[in-house]
Amino acid sequence: MAIFNLTINGKSKQVDVDPNTPMLWVLRDHLDLVGTKFGCGIAQCGACTIHLDGTAVRSCSLPVSSAEGAEITTIEGLSENGDHPLQEAWIEHDVPQCGYCQAGQIMTAAALLNDNPKPSDEEIENALNGNICRCGTYLRIKAAVKTAAQKL
């Protein structure tokens, strides 16, 4: 066990955990930030996507020891009032079915729009190809990203 000082959604947090603990479980079990989801544990499905200094990363494969000193953003901190253009577009297009993968989809899309505010269809498809949606809401996800991009 070791103490780690983390910056999550702009706030300082301290946890005492095994240094190999993935950020996913630090967030979910130790910090009660459960919007970041467990899907596969091997960085294949994207449900656990968070931002590390603005870049989309798979928190299931990011040890807490590598996250110290970085700005971590989770779905809970993407916007103050849940009004990030992507969150609003997700509601406008009524994207979710079961909803479980959607936080990861939104976090991946948010990182894409940070880098590339006007992505083409192909760029959206490439960026989001790592995020599985078992319910098959891919078309609405793509449409919502395009709507959000127009509002940025």
Binding site: N20, D32, C45, C98, G99, N126, R134, G136
Partner: protein, 753 residues
């Protein structure tokens, strides 16, 4: 206007009582959509008044509607309350929706599966809404001393026009809650619907996009422990012994023990399908710590002997034999090939098919195969349980709480009424969570450690110890006469361990000489419901064969199907044909129009397919383009007849999802076994459809209908497989008989190089 007898639903109406307001978390539906204007914002009422199990109204006019069924993504948590709100006559923007807990005394059918939620909830929910409205009217009539017939309602208000009196529902709710439940109520005329048939946003949309806790896996209470499960490594194996002491020294590990799901002498019910009745639990202080211990876990396993037990299938006692052995996909395939050659069990026989085949000028025979599939819900199997000496609270993802209650009660040795199952939003279901032994596992762990616990499967556990879609095979034969006309039709289909056949479905009823046979091969691999069970295979086989037949006969594939349906409509063969040929033809005609069937866009290859299941009719046209040797699905057009559509945009969403799901499984879905072990355990091995493989465009068109609603979650899924196969045939000139199609396509593309 329909009058319904409320006594039919008496069970769901408890003695009405005024309830004090509880400290629940509220979610106004408008929070999910746009920001409310000040006049739309209602404060929390000081007191709630319960009009029946589904509806309570606050003194300030706030309305809470309980959604009875578990939510796994089909959006019943929005559409079921819409039905209540319609008949109650309230402003949807001022409705609060709550997930009901499992409460069989109060709600009729808290089951999500078989696409039956809206169909079977339609009349009970409308009745509940209309009954509450009638009681509010009676209360106003009593207060104003006027005839109830003179009172009208609109948007949560009651009005007596002659005297100019008007109040909102909340002002008479306390009185209404004390009145007798009327014996009969009138339901609205369909043309007067203002909520049903309009698109309403998902009531949990805002919570989902902001990452609020909604799933069982998100649940946490003070003092809660975490648990992982270790299963035997292969189907056909069981625990011999395991090594505990080394794990006990690992950080955060509290205990390691075995749990047995069934006590001696317990009679299983129909949904007591579980892979391993004895498993090992590892309990500790955090998920990561128990997962580390799981990795280090060492055990000895042994081959399990054959087991026999009786299963209670809704009153029928079925003898079940689970064979011993470690099974292989190669052996499965060889055995299935043998069964294709043998005669099967005759399920339906019209005319004299044997003679017709003997006389035939030409016989066409084709066999179609598909593998086991894993459900792969995005939220892995998990459950929270808090079991005390005299009561238990279980909070978990389940489609069918009723089907696990007996199992829980016997395992915990607690009376059913002391077990409370609370229904979590599920991260997908697809049939998998109709089997809820994860609830029993979590409950037994909690009982043993005497603390609340959250048990989580890894993805490998979830995929590797599933209750899978079976592997199937179907052989079709058609007899053509010298004029190339279809005279006889024969289907023989089976699987491991169940047959996929529905003998009375189309094209039964459309052909004079018809034979349907089935076969089954026992297995110890557990199988169960998977989105549109059996239909999800047999539709693909049948609709591929009809396409081959149409080509052989020189007919347009849609025209050929319509001819058969015309025959079934005007002069049906046999009895018990369980489809309506006119509605079936209707969706084919609609998809022909919407897809501009005879004028496809340049460069696309089209396939059509149609199927009836879960009381609904669907036809689909799928366009694909070849990019080099890679097929890309461009457009899918679906025509759906599912009666009245409650929430059209959400319905379209589910249809789109089912189509994407079908394309994914047709190309990639496959689970194989080696020595009883699934060969795929995670998403690096099990290929799922992803964003780049999704179609460019999907259109879901609903037949305008005044029929009562029927199924929707499943019916769009089965036809996709043949729409893909038929389009691939057009694109490649090659008919694919074995799902998934991707390996064969890659082989073909290598040959081209």
């Amino acid at each position: 206007m329909t009058t319904v007898n409320t006594k039919l639903n008496r069970r769901s109406f408890l003695k009405v009582s005024a309830l004090a307001g509880g400290g629940m978390v509220l979610s106004f539906s408008w929070l999910a959509g746009c920001k409310p204007s000040p006049e739309e914002t209602l404060g929390m009422p000081k007191e709630w008044f319960e009009l029946n199990s589904y509806i309570k109204i606050g003194e300030n006019g706030a309305v809470t509607l309980f959604s009875p069924n578990p939510e796994f993504g089909s959006n019943v948590k929005t559409s079921m309350p819409m039905i209540l709100a319609e008949e109650l006559g309230v402003n949807w923007k001022q409705v609060i929706v709550e997930q009901a807990d499992f409460f069989p005394e109060r709600f009729d059918r808290q089951f999500t599966g078989g696409s039956q939620g809206i169909r079977q909830g339609w009349i009970p929910l409308r009745t509940a809404g209309a009954t509450a409205r009638a009681m509010l009217i009676a209360a106003a009539a009593q207060t104003w001393k006027v005839d109830p017939k003179e009172i009208s309602t609109e948007n949560g208000h009651l009005e007596h026009k002659a005297s100019g009196k008007k109040v909102q529902y909340g002002q008479v709710a306390s009185l209404a809650a004390t009145l007798e439940v009327p014996e009969e109520v009138k339901l609205k005329d369909i043309q007067n619907f203002t909520i049903i048939g309009t698109s309403k946003k998902n009531v949990d949309g805002k919570k989902i996009v902001t990452g609020q806790p909604m799933y069982a896996i998100d649940h946490k209470v003070e003092g809660m422990k975490y648990a992982a499960i270790v299963h035997p490594p292969a189907f056909g194996m069981r625990i011999k012994s395991f090594e505990k002491s080394s794990l006990m020294g690992m950080p955060g590990i509290q205990d390691v023990f075995t749990i047995k799901l069934f006590k001696e002498g317990y009679e299983r019910n129909f949904f007591d399908t579980t892979t391993f009745p004895e498993v090992i639990a590892i309990v500790g202080n955090s998920t990561w710590e128990v997962l580390q211990a799981k990795k280090a876990f060492q055990a000895e396993w042994e081959n399990a002997p054959e087991s026999k037990f009786t299963m209670d299938a809704f009153g029928n006692k079925i003898p079940v034999t689970v064979p011993a052995g470690l099974e292989n996909t190669s052996d499965h395939k060889a055995k299935m090939a043998e069964y294709i050659q043998k005669s099967g069990n005759i399920l339906r026989r019209d005319g004299d098919p044997e003679a017709a085949f003997q006389k035939a000028a030409k016989v066409i025979e084709r066999t179609y195969n598909a593998p086991f599939l894993a459900h792969n819900t995005m939220e892995p199997i998990n459950c929270f349980a808090d079991v005390k000496s005299d009561k238990a609270v279980i909070y978990g993802p389940t489609q069918a709480p009723e089907f696990i209650m007996n199992t829980l009660a016997q395992a915990l040795d607690l009376p059913k009424e002391n077990i409370q199952i609370n229904l979590a939003r599920m991260g997908g279901g697809f049939g998998r969570r109709a089997y809820s032994h994860h609830m029993v596992e979590a409950a037994l762990i909690s009982q043993k450690i005497q603390a609340p616990v959250k048990m989580v499967y890894t993805r490998e556990d979830d995929m590797g110890y599933g209750i899978y879609r079976p592997t199937y095979s179907a052989t079709y034969r058609a007899a053509l006469d010298e004029n190339n006309q279809l005279v006889a039709f024969h289907v023989k289909a089976g699987g491991i361990p169940e047959t996929p056949i529905h003998p009375n479905r189309f094209p039964a009823g459309a052909i004079d000489h018809y034979l349907a046979e089935s076969w089954e091969i026992p297995s110890n691999i557990t199988i169960g419901a998977f989105r549109a069970p059996r239909s999800n295979f047999i539709a693909g086989a049948e609709q591929s064969f009809l396409d081959e037949l149409a080509e052989e006969m020189g007919k347009d594939p849609i025209e050929f199907r319509l001819e058969l349906l015309k025959r079934a409509q005007t002069n049906p063969v046999g009895e018990n044909n369980d489809y309506d040929p006119k509605r079936y033809a209707g969706v084919l005609e609609l998809v022909r129009e919407k897809s501009k069937w005879s004028n496809p866009p340049a460069g696309v290859h089209r396939g059509v397919s149609a199927y009836f299941c879960h009381n609904s009719y669907v036809a689909e046209v799928l366009d694909l383009k070849m990019e080099g040797s890679t097929p890309k699905v461009e457009n899918v057009y679906a025509a759906v007849d599912c009666g009245i559509v409650v929430n059209p945009d959400a319905a379209a969403n589910m249809g789109e999802g089912a189509i994407v799901d079908g394309i994914g499984n047709a190309f990639f879905g496959e689970l194989a076994f080696e020595n009883g072990k699934p060969t795929k355990r995670n998403f690096d091995q099990y290929r799922m459809i992803r964003q780049q493989e999704a179609p460019k465009n999907i259109q879901v068109h609903f037949v305008d209908s005044t029929e009562d609603p029927t199924g929707l979650g499943e019916p769009l899924f089965p036809p996709v497989f043949a729409a893909v196969a038929n389009a691939l045939y057009k694109a490649t000139g090659k008919r694919l008989y074995d799902q998934p199609f991707q390996p064969k396509l890659e082989e073909m593309s290598n040959l081209l190089r």
